[in-house]
Structure formats: structure tokens, C-alpha cells
């Protein structure tokens, strides 16, 4: 979705302000909030992609006003309710008012190691890769209203396939509970000037990790340009 989370290239957010000797957490609730979120993903209540979509679906004014873990807490509440794992009256009461829904497993000490390493998202290839290293590709001009990992700044821009990263779970599908739909993943390299215009620092290049459905050969003329040429 074209949400506030897609921040690459936006202006006006000011300087980056590193904190010296930053603690791992700034308050105890942040640690509990992170742990609860990771726990629910670890026991299979939802996927990492639904998790990310849950943050993106927060209203933009809430997204900007809340701290990082503040957003995580709101996302946790909304996904728990959406998945029918608890109800809003129980959150308000601060206690369970009904029995829990059966889940594959409970989050206990044995599951902890799984929360500390990323899962494996590589999958066997369903078909040969469409692109090879060195191919010129255009990121498609798509605007799905649901979760996607193609950032806005790359859409419509031409880059070069730099590496193939194997076949991976497709977040756009997984976030909708529509299956893993594994897709080839590529590192696509763009010149800074292709993304940001002629006045851009000529030493800049930017890469994205792009799933195959996001890409088309650069030789394909985008629809709106061919239309404008043939009125």
C-alpha cells in the first residue's frame, strides 16, 4: 500500500540523531511488547508479512505520532482481535473473559530460540528465473492497496539485475494469507540519477531486493507512456 511507512526519499524529517550509549530498551514495557509480538509470530498465530502489514495499516497520523514499540503494541492488539485470539472487551478488562482459541502450540521456553533468528524464507523454485545478472529491468508502476515490498521511489525506474538470491516466500501473497507463492528474488541496482534526477550526487547507487513479479524487461514500454505517444 502507498502508506506513510514507505519513507524512502521523503523530505522534511530532519537530521538523524544518534543516541550515545543507547540502551537495548528505553523502558521495560518496550521489551515486553517486542517479546509478545515475537511470541505470537513464533507460535504461528500470523506471519512476519502480516506483522509488517499490521504496522502499515495504522493511520498515518498514528504512525508518525507513536514511538516504534508504541506502534508494535497497537499492531499486536489489532492482529489479536482480527485473528479472533482475544476481544476488545478483554483488553479493556485486562483479563480473559472467554477461553482461548486452540493454537498449534503455546509460547514456552522451548520456542524462544526460534524468536532470536530469522526464519528461513527460501523455497524451491517453481520455474526458471526470468532474469539474469546484467539484465536491464524496470520496476513496475504498480500501486497495490495491500502489502508490498516494492518501494515507491523505485517504481517505473530502470535498473540492472546484480544478483539472484533464490526463490523466496512472496510477502504480497503471504500478508493476505493467500499462500507463500514463492518468487525469484533479485538485487536490482539503480543509478542515483535514475531515481532522483540529474542534480543527484553522481557517486550514488541504490539497490532494492525485488521479487520477480515487481519487474519487467526494460525494453517493455510502460503503458501510460505508449498511450501518450499514440493519442
Amino acid at each position: 500500500m502507498d502508506g506513510i511507512h514507505d519513507m524512502g526519499g521523503m523530505h522534511g524529517f530532519g537530521k538523524v540523531e544518534p543516541e550515545n550509549n543507547e540502551p537495548v530498551f528505553h523502558a521495560a514495557w518496550e521489551a515486553r511488547c517486542l517479546a509478545l509480538n515475537r511470541a505470537m509470530v513464533a507460535i504461528g498465530a500470523w506471519t512476519i508479512d502480516e506483522d509488517r502489514a499490521g504496522i502499515e495499516e495504522l493511520p498515518p497520523q498514528v504512525y508518525l505520532a507513536r514511538s516504534y514499540y508504541g506502534k508494535w503494541a497497537l499492531r499486536l492488539e489489532s492482529l489479536l482481535v482480527k485473528c479472533g485470539l482475544l476481544a476488545t472487551d478483554e483488553i479493556a478488562a485486562g483479563h480473559a473473559l472467554r477461553a482461548g482459541k486452540p493454537l498449534k502450540r503455546r509460547f514456552d521456553a522451548a520456542v524462544v530460540p526460534r524468536t532470536l533468528t530469522r526464519g528461513s524464507f527460501g523455497r524451491p523454485a517453481q520455474s526458471p528465473a526470468r532474469f539474469n545478472i546484467g539484465d536491464r529491468v524496470r520496476a513496475k508502476n504498480i500501486h497495490p492497496p495491500t502489502h508490498t515490498r516494492l518501494p515507491r521511489y523505485a517504481r517505473g525506474r530502470v535498473g540492472v539485475i546484480e544478483a539472484l538470491r533464490g526463490c523466496h516466500v512472496f510477502p504480497d501473497s503471504s500478508a493476505l494469507r493467500a499462500g507463500e507463492s514463492p518468487q525469484w528474488l533479485y538485487t536490482v541496482l539503480f543509478e542515483g540519477r535514475e531515481l532522483w534526477g540529474e542534480t543527484t550526487d553522481p557517486t550514488l547507487t541504490v539497490s532494492i531486493e525485488a521479487f520477480e513479479p515487481y519487474l519487467e524487461p526494460a525494453s517493455v514500454i510502460p503503458a501510460e507512456r505508449s498511450e501518450s505517444r499514440n493519442p
Binding site: M7, G8, H11, V16, E17, A27, T115, L116, R149
Partner: protein, 210 residues
């Protein structure tokens, strides 16, 4: 509504703090009562995050690469395999990629869409990495971002920004500082900062730790 007066109040986010303490506590209670989670397992997860993972692991990887050319080659070819073989951490996530700085090329890592970060080698991301200023500017003004960190690179250095838009994760292999010939891995690891493995900093030099 009664406000909690824990000693965590940091002023700046005071109102969110007390609200969030209550909300998160309520969620944890409900989830435990429903039988979904064991709160003691949350304690264990948090303790592990606070004590076992962190940039000290990444620093070992970099120091090893600076002293062992065979290891460095494996690291560049398959960082997951190389780091797993070091045995620093329980299990390395798949698709870890090490990118090497050279006199001509400087790498920088960002996640413009959320907060993707190589936990297993660097721990949890710092607040600035997850912030709007970094996520918005890293891809179109990396030299400006570097200036915010007090880093200035030669005008001719190529800057390569890696946007972590999938489950691949990146760690920067910085250049070994001059004047460290003959240093041990332990000595070298002390020069490796978290930021130099993200690409927003450079390693310390021998004078910085003298």
C-alpha cells in the same frame, strides 16, 4: 484513569510511557490467561536479547575477516555459512550478505519500509535506524546522513545504499584501519563499532582507543 508512577518516566515520552505500560501489561495478562504464552518464556527471550545478541558478535566476524583471508572469502561468498561456522550464536538466519568497503566504494544499509536489520550479528537496531529521518534520507542523501554522524568521505568515493526490502540481511565489512599491522583478533574487534557495520560510521583507529 489512574496513572502509573514507575521510575521509568523519561519525561519526553512520559504520557505514552504510562499508557503503554498499562496496555502492554493488560495484553500480557490476557494472553497468559488464554493459555497462549508463558510469561517466563518472555523473560527468557528478553534476557537473551539483552545479553547474548549484539554488535559484539558482528565485531568478531569483522575482526576475523581482517586477519583470515580464507574466512573473508567465505564471508563474501556466503555470510550465513561463514558466520554459522564461527559458532558465536545459536543459529544464523538465512540469507545474510556481507558487503565490503574498499577505497573506492562505501556501503550503507537501510530499511526504508520498516526496520529490517541483521539481528543475529548486530542485535536490535538503534532508534535512529528505525526513525523517519534515516529511512527517508539514506537512499537520496547518504552523504548528508553521514555528516549527521560526523563522517565525511572523499567526493569521489562511490556510495552504495542497500535497501533491505526482502528477507536478505546485510552487514558492512569495513576497511581495516591503518596502523593495526600484527594486531590480534581481540585487539581488532575493539575497533569495530556497530555503526561501521551499518555503514554510517568508520571503524575506530589505534589512536581512538589509546
Amino acid at each position: 484513569m489512574a496513572h502509573d508512577h514507575d521510575h521509568n518516566d523519561d519525561g519526553e515520552h512520559g504520557s505514552e510511557l504510562s499508557e503503554m505500560q498499562l496496555r502492554v501489561r493488560a495484553l500480557e495478562t490476557v494472553l497468559a490467561e488464554k493459555g497462549y504464552i508463558d510469561p517466563a518464556a518472555l523473560d527468557l527471550m528478553i534476557e537473551t536479547i539483552e545479553t547474548k545478541i549484539g554488535p559484539h558478535n558482528g565485531a568478531r566476524v569483522v575482526a576475523k575477516a581482517w586477519t583470515d583471508s580464507a574466512f573473508k572469502q567465505t564471508l563474501i561468498e556466503d555470510a550465513t555459512k561463514a558466520v554459522q561456522a564461527l559458532g558465536l550464536i545459536n543459529r544464523v538466519g538465512d540469507h545474510l550478505i556481507a558487503v565490503e568497503n574498499t577505497p573506492k566504494l562505501h556501503n550503507m544499509i537501510v530499511c526504508t519500509l520498516c526496520s529490517c536489520y541483521p539481528w543475529e550479528v548486530l542485535g536490535l537496531p538503534p532508534v535512529w535506524y528505525k526513525s523517519a529521518p534515516y529511512r527517508s534520507r539514506a537512499v537520496n542523501d547518504p552523504r548528508g546522513v553521514l555528516a549527521d554522524f560526523g563522517v565525511k568521505l572523499p567526493a569521489h568515493t562511490q556510495i552504495r545504499v542497500w535497501d533491505s526490502t526482502a528477507e536478505t540481511r546485510f552487514i558492512v565489512l569495513p576497511m581495516r584501519p591503518a596502523g593495526t599491522e600484527g594486531w590480534s583478533e581481540d585487539q581488532l574487534a575493539a575497533l569495530v563499532t556497530r555503526d561501521c557495520m551499518i555503514g554510517t560510521g568508520l571503524p575506530k583507529g589505534p589512536k581512538d582507543i589509546a
